[in-house]
């Protein structure tokens, strides 16, 4: 497929806008990375003496490594559940014949609007009344319910423009509703769902307050960072963040490389 050539004139301007935006996103983080090499207890300009000690400390910090692992576990589970549930709700809401649609939509949006701490407290009290203990399950529950509206809105956006004729055609060809969904609707939703999944993982991995209220004694990464921050913003925290960023970048690029290969083959 050849690259489109719309808006030929302003193309350069758009390109500039993109790169300025990249600078906006990456610039501050590059500062953070630079600070992670500072040989002092606190981050400050000028950086002065540099050291790799903070990295050595972080890499050998069992608490950090287990926190990262635990965060990934929770994020993966959250992404899985929230994507399925969010998509399902989107399908229900997009069904023309349902008169409850608007109510369901509004209720489904609720968790996105409640400020984190209030949601955390209300969920904590709620699961206490159900006699469900805190711990990993409760954290995943809390994160999932927070992420569901994001998936749903993403999926809905795409579902709305899906020509109904596609599903009809599949049905005409003998597919039952489930197969029609898996073969037609789901692939059509794919780009929106990837976006939704990214939201899920991000919301979960960055969540502090829900985890604090719903969790047990295993520390997630944001909890560790918040607690360490109590003693001051040290280059050690920057080193942690840099490592996390580097890892995500490498994983992301690797995955991109894989799909690229798969496509050219």
């Amino acid at each position: 497929m050849a690259a489109a050539r719309p808006l030929d004139g302003p193309k350069a301007a758009l390109s500039a806008a993109y790169w300025v935006f990249v600078l906006y996103l990456l610039g501050p983080l590059l500062l953070m990375t630079a600070m992670s090499f500072k040989a002092a207890e606190f981050i400050a300009f000028p950086i002065g003496e540099t050291t790799l000690d903070w990295y050595a400390k972080v890499v050998h910090d069992g608490q950090f490594l287990s926190a990262v692992g635990y965060s990934i576990l929770i994020a993966a589970a959250t992404t899985l559940f929230a994507t399925v549930i969010g998509t399902w709700i989107a399908l229900v809401v997009s069904a023309e014949s349902l008169w409850l649609r608007s109510l369901v939509f509004a209720l489904a949006c609720l968790p996105a609007v409640v400020p984190g701490m209030i949601q955390a407290i209300s969920v904590r009290i709620f699961i206490a009344t159900l006699d469900v203990p805190t711990g990993t399950g409760a954290i995943i529950f809390g994160h999932t319910l927070h992420a569901v509206p994001f998936v749903m809105i993403m999926a809905l956006t795409r579902l709305r423009t899906m020509p109904g004729s596609l599903v009809d055609a599949a049905r005409d060809l003998g597919a039952d509703p489930v197969v029609a969904f898996l073969r037609v609707t789901l692939p059509y939703l794919k780009p929106a769902l990837y976006g939704g999944m990214i939201f899920c993982a991000l919301l979960s991995i960055d969540d502090f307050v829900r985890t604090f209220f719903l969790g047990g004694y295993r520390t997630t990464l944001p909890m560790l960072i918040f607690a360490r921050l109590q003693g001051g913003m040290s280059p050690e925290i920057n080193a942690m963040a840099t490592l996390v960023l580097l890892t995500t970048a490498v994983v992301g690029l690797y995955a991109e490389q894989l799909t690229r290969k798969a496509r050219t083959r």
């Binding site: 994507t83 209220f213 109590q230």
Partner: protein, 369 residues
């Protein structure tokens, strides 16, 4: 994203797996986690309050597995315990002295049986019988670290005047910072009133008048404020970045700045200030109360533990013999000249409801002004 390719097959697998997980969710949620086991102890505390070496030794000596949940402020601890109600998931919490009444009032703490703690006498005597530590004739916690509301200034830009005046000086326009609720008490004291409301029992009119006076004074001087802050890390960063030159702060975070070599000085102005103490408390209905007592006993047993706590947090230790262990720089950052120490009054636990009510309200009004 449109370019990442999944086959229908993997989509089905994914869906199947998630469906299975969804059905199994109740089972996962219901698996009772182990808060109440014979050899476990659950502690909620601040990062770096409990030294890692000590923790390791304690676990090895007693065979008790210690779980630590880190918190970063009193409010979260209180909210968590309140939300958990009668079945707490934690045995020891770290409460600051003047918040006692709130925790006790909500039935969240158990009184401490000091007779069960052999090392109780290693506390500096003044802390053993501190009046804020006892309510209804019961003792409520083991004091571990003491701090005070200090005046912190950047020595490159601000002269020492020995008074809180400097926080309201025109020269420091947009260059000060404080925690509103804490500084309101200090301002009341600065203006000649009782910032801790101890003498205002049953005198709400007097209390309200004094509160409003301080509130209006702070609103009048709002142009001096660069930012109201909440956390120690914020004020540290503001000093380092030279966004503020003078501020009210807690002694711990400010001491840490001094230990790291920043041009910051700490003092207690002549009008005086308030102090506070962090204590370890046994939770009401704690699932492992016996282990909690063993832990508290061990903390108090050795001044080395106290020294490590001071080094890490910047606050002053409450145990005898700790000062001798600290090096000169650490001692200088965490201790004060005797005449300034005498200006510190510890926050009381009397008349808290009235104080909290009025201070919270005035805080909102100052921020909104």
């Amino acid at each position: 994203m449109g370019d990442i390719k999944t086959t229908r097959r993997s989509a089905i697998k994914l869906l199947g797996a998630s469906a299975a997980g969804f059905l199994a969710a109740p089972a996962i949620l219901r698996s009772r986690s182990a808060f109440a086991q014979s050899n476990v102890l659950n502690i909620t505390t601040y990062d770096k309050f409990i030294p890692a070496d000590f923790l390791e030794k304690f676990q090895a000596d007693t065979g008790i597995t210690v779980n630590i949940r880190l918190t970063d402020d009193q409010g979260k601890q209180y909210n968590l315990l309140t939300a958990e109600g009668a079945n707490p998931s934690t045995d020891i919490v770290t409460v600051v002295g003047h918040r006692f009444s709130q925790f006790i009032g909500s039935n969240l703490l158990a009184p401490l049986d000091t007779a069960r703690i052999a090392s109780w006498n290693s506390l500096i005597p003044a802390y053993q019988q501190a009046d804020w530590l006892t309510t209804d004739g019961k003792t409520w916690g083991l004091p571990i670290l003491a701090g005070f509301e200090c005046l912190a200034r950047n020595t490159d830009y601000v002269e020492d005047t020995g008074s809180w005046d400097v926080m309201f000086a025109d020269a420091n326009k947009s260059a000060t910072s404080y925690i509103v609720s804490d500084f309101l008490s200090i301002t009341m004291r600065y203006l000649g009133d009782d910032g801790d409301y101890v003498t205002y029992v049953d005198k709400p009119d007097v209390a309200q008048a004094a509160t409003n006076k301080a509130r209006d004074f702070l609103i009048q001087h709002k142009d001096k404020v660069r930012k109201y802050y909440d956390a120690g890390s914020e004020i540290q960063q503001m000093f380092i970045n030279e966004d503020v030159y003078v501020a009210q702060g807690w002694s711990g975070p400010i001491s840490k700045l001094i230990m790291d070599g920043h041009p910051i000085a700490i003092s207690v102005p002549k009008e005086g200030t308030y102090g506070f103490v962090y204590t370890l408390n046994v939770v009401n209905n704690a699932p492992n109360a016996d282990n909690a007592y063993k832990f508290i006993e061990a903390v108090a047993a050795s001044p080395e533990v106290g020294a490590a706590m001071t080094r890490q947090s910047g606050f002053t230790s409450t145990f005898a013999g700790v000062e001798a262990i600290l090096d000169e720089k650490e001692r200088a950052a965490s201790t004060l000249p005797a005449d300034q120490v005498e200006r510190i009054t510890f926050f009381s636990s009397v008349n808290r409801d009235m104080k909290n009510e009025m201070v919270d309200r005035a805080t909102a009004e100052i921020k909104a002004a």
